[in-house]
Amino acid sequence: MAHKWGLVVDLDRCTGCEACVVACHAENNVPTVGKDQAAIGRAMQWIRVERSWEGDFPNPKVRFQPVLCQQCDAAPCEAVCPTYASYHTEEGLNGQAYNRCIGTRFCANACPYTVRSFNFFNPSWQKPLNLQLNPDVSVRSVGIMEKCTFCVQRIKSAEIQAEAEKRDLKDGELTTACAQSCASKALVFGDLNDPNSEVSRLASSNRAAKLMGELGTKPNVTYLDRGAWQDAKNS
């Protein structure tokens, strides 16, 4: 059976440490743009941790929400790309063919989650970060749109390994860099088509919700939030 990759973000577990962000930068060769560029809204992050406050001083409650590409089944970004640089893969991922991207930025405008990063300049890495680039991931040049791939290089490598050993992929055999680095296990990655996988189990939790699911984009990222569940129970 084909895989359908999904991620669960447990907001009740997230501590906002941003280890996932660092791991993603390292794994996927995501460039850092520097203070000045970041200040004018050009920070490149495939996963970002959004902060919000509930309640007023002196007892505000801080909430964190990691936002990454939702890998939508009905993705608004894919239809609008004139060159098929954004496309749907057979395993349900929103693929991005860097070499095919001409940089119209239409996909980034169409994305309701604003999770696409654009290379406004050619990327550069401060020494010694330039020595740690991941050889499995291509480095993107100026004028190209990029975004979270669910660490497709890890998926492919695990699939090839499993195929060579003539066996099925086991749940937990592979995970994304963000999920791997999450100390509080707030991020769980896996195959939604496998009913026994941890991600399937969590995604069907009664704490589960989709980010702006009402837009009909059918995201494959699920958020778990006790607050929403309790509100629903009490009402």
């Binding site: 809204g41 001409i102 119209t104 309701p112 604003t114 290379n119 702006m212 984009t217």
Partner: protein, 479 residues
């Protein structure tokens, strides 16, 4: 002084000597700007040429450094670039559409107006078409939008509104270039016969062996009729498709069913304003006072008034339904544009597009050449702001409040924008040196007596017979 139709008919019942002289006079007046060059013309060419060079330099800098030299950011990925694109494609609705409709309605006052309108169309499509090429991240790969057979077997994505844009604009450019060129053929022949040397050679090629035989006149008439009918749906579809770049997405205040007709209305609105401005300038600098008369400005002024009210109607409908619907995502954008960050721009737009033009254009006393030109200038500004306000507030207040942003243009974007105006001026100036800005033969047709609609004989190169009488004549032709 404007002659009435009766007076002209009376004149024409006399021996044709006077008509003959009027025809000669038309040819003289309209060919004069081509053969003489004033100092002002050279200055204008130099200034607009410099603007174009500045744009080329800015674009070169952008290519070398990266598109980050613009002010765009995340989430405002489109700003001045697409504003200018929509603006210029909008301006292009001046000519072809208006001229085609006036031709189809057989509005005889159109004769001195059509050529300069059609020229605006062609040049603003060229400019509008260049902007997307400059705006993409990797302009050297822009040809990937073309569905050409290639070894990789990759085709462009036919679901993308950008690809529809590509085809729509290409079709419109081809169509309106043809539409401009067809009625210019007899005039190229007239220039060919009046000139020597290099210009003669070029015009010989461009006039396609025009001799003014009845057969040729008939072919021309049929071809122009077909083009006039074909170009109207093309023009409407072009700006509808441009509007779909926005309305086919989920972005709040973009995802709207009204955008198609709203954009077409805005396009015709700004197009007529551009046409009136161009006509006022041509009239002044090429001394065409006897050809572009207050009548034309009055008629176009009425049309402009209609479009202004129609534009207001659409804007009102769009804003009212959004406000009444009261969805949080849309209201964030709504208040940004009318009450918060963009409010000064929004209300400037309303003043420029409605509050100034409507009183000027609705009173006959003010619907003069100066009056319509003033109204047109404010409308050009207002319509540019309108395009900006459609694009930027929606993008910088998209769904998730975390990712809201602010956009500020940089000098590169400012230069490119100024350069687009310079390019329009330059192309228009150069065109006025190559082609009479008022169609000579169509003006002469206006001298002919009523004689059915069919051309039977045509004695001279640029003197068709038997079309409908009317249109203004040079008033000081000697008796």
């Amino acid at each position: 002084m404007q002659k009435t139709v009766e007076q002209i008919e009376q004149d024409l019942q006399r021996p044709t000597g006077r008509t003959q002289r009027a025809a000669e006079r038309i040819e003289q007046d309209l060919l004069r700007p081509i053969f003489t060059t004033s100092g002002k013309y050279k200055v204008a060419v130099a200034v607009s040429g410099l603007l174009v060079l500045a744009g080329v330099a800015a674009f070169g800098y952008q290519l070398y450094t990266g598109i980050g030299v613009w002010g765009i950011n995340s989430p405002v990925f489109w700003a001045f670039d697409i504003t200018n694109f929509v603006f210029w494609i909008g301006i292009s609705h001046a000519g072809t559409l208006i001229s085609a409709i006036l031709r189809l309605c057989n509005a005889t006052w159109r004769r001195p107006v059509t050529r300069c309108a059609e020229a605006i169309t062609v040049f603003s499509i060229v400019i509008g078409g260049l902007i997307p090429l400059c705006h993409i991240g990797r302009p050297w790969l822009g040809y990937w939008l073309i569905p050409y057979p290639n070894q990789r077997g990759i085709w462009p994505n036919f679901r993308s509104p950008l690809l529809w844009d590509f085809f729509a604009i290409l079709t419109y450019l081809t169509g309106s270039t043809t539409f401009l060129y067809l009625p210019t053929i007899p005039d190229f022949a007239a220039i060919r016969d009046a000139s020597t040397g290099f210009r003669k050679k070029i015009c010989r090629i461009l006039s396609l062996g025009w001799q003014g035989t009845p057969r040729q006149w008939q072919r021309l008439e049929i071809a122009m009729h077909i083009m006039a009918i074909a170009i109207v749906p093309v023009a409407v579809s072009v700006h509808t498709i441009v509007s779909w770049d926005f309305s086919m997405t989920l972005v709040p205040m973009w995802h709207s069913t009204i955008f198609g007709p709203y954009f077409v209305t805005g396009a015709i609105f700004s197009g007529i304003a551009a046409l009136i401005l161009a006509m006022a300038l041509l009239r002044h600098f090429l001394h065409l006072e006897q050809y572009l008369t207050p009548l034309h400005f009055n008629n176009l002024g009425k049309l402009l008034l209609t479009m202004s009210l129609l534009w207001f109607y659409f804007t009102f409908c769009e804003r009212l339904t959004t406000w009444y619907g009261n969805t949080p995502d849309e209201m964030a954008v709504f208040w940004q544009s009318i009450r918060l960050h963009f409010a000064p721009l929004f209300w400037t737009m309303v003043i420029c597009n409605l509050i100034i033009p409507v009183p000027i254009l609705s009173m006959k006393r003010f619907r003069t050449i100066t009056g319509t030109a003033i109204a047109s200038s404010t409308i050009i500004v207002g319509m540019w702001i309108e395009r900006f306000l459609i694009i930027v507030p929606a993008l910088d207040h998209k769904f998730l409040p975390f990712s809201w942003g602010v956009y500020r243009p940089t000098w590169v974007e400012d230069t490119l924008m100024a350069s687009s105006f310079g390019m329009m001026a330059l192309l228009y100036l150069l065109f006025s040196k190559a082609v009479p800005m008022i169609s000579i033969w169509e003006m002469k047709v206006g001298l002919q007596p009523h004689g059915g609609g069919i051309i039977t004989t045509a004695p001279a190169i640029a003197e068709p017979h038997g079309l409908v009488l009317e249109g203004p004549l040079p008033t000081d032709v000697p008796e």
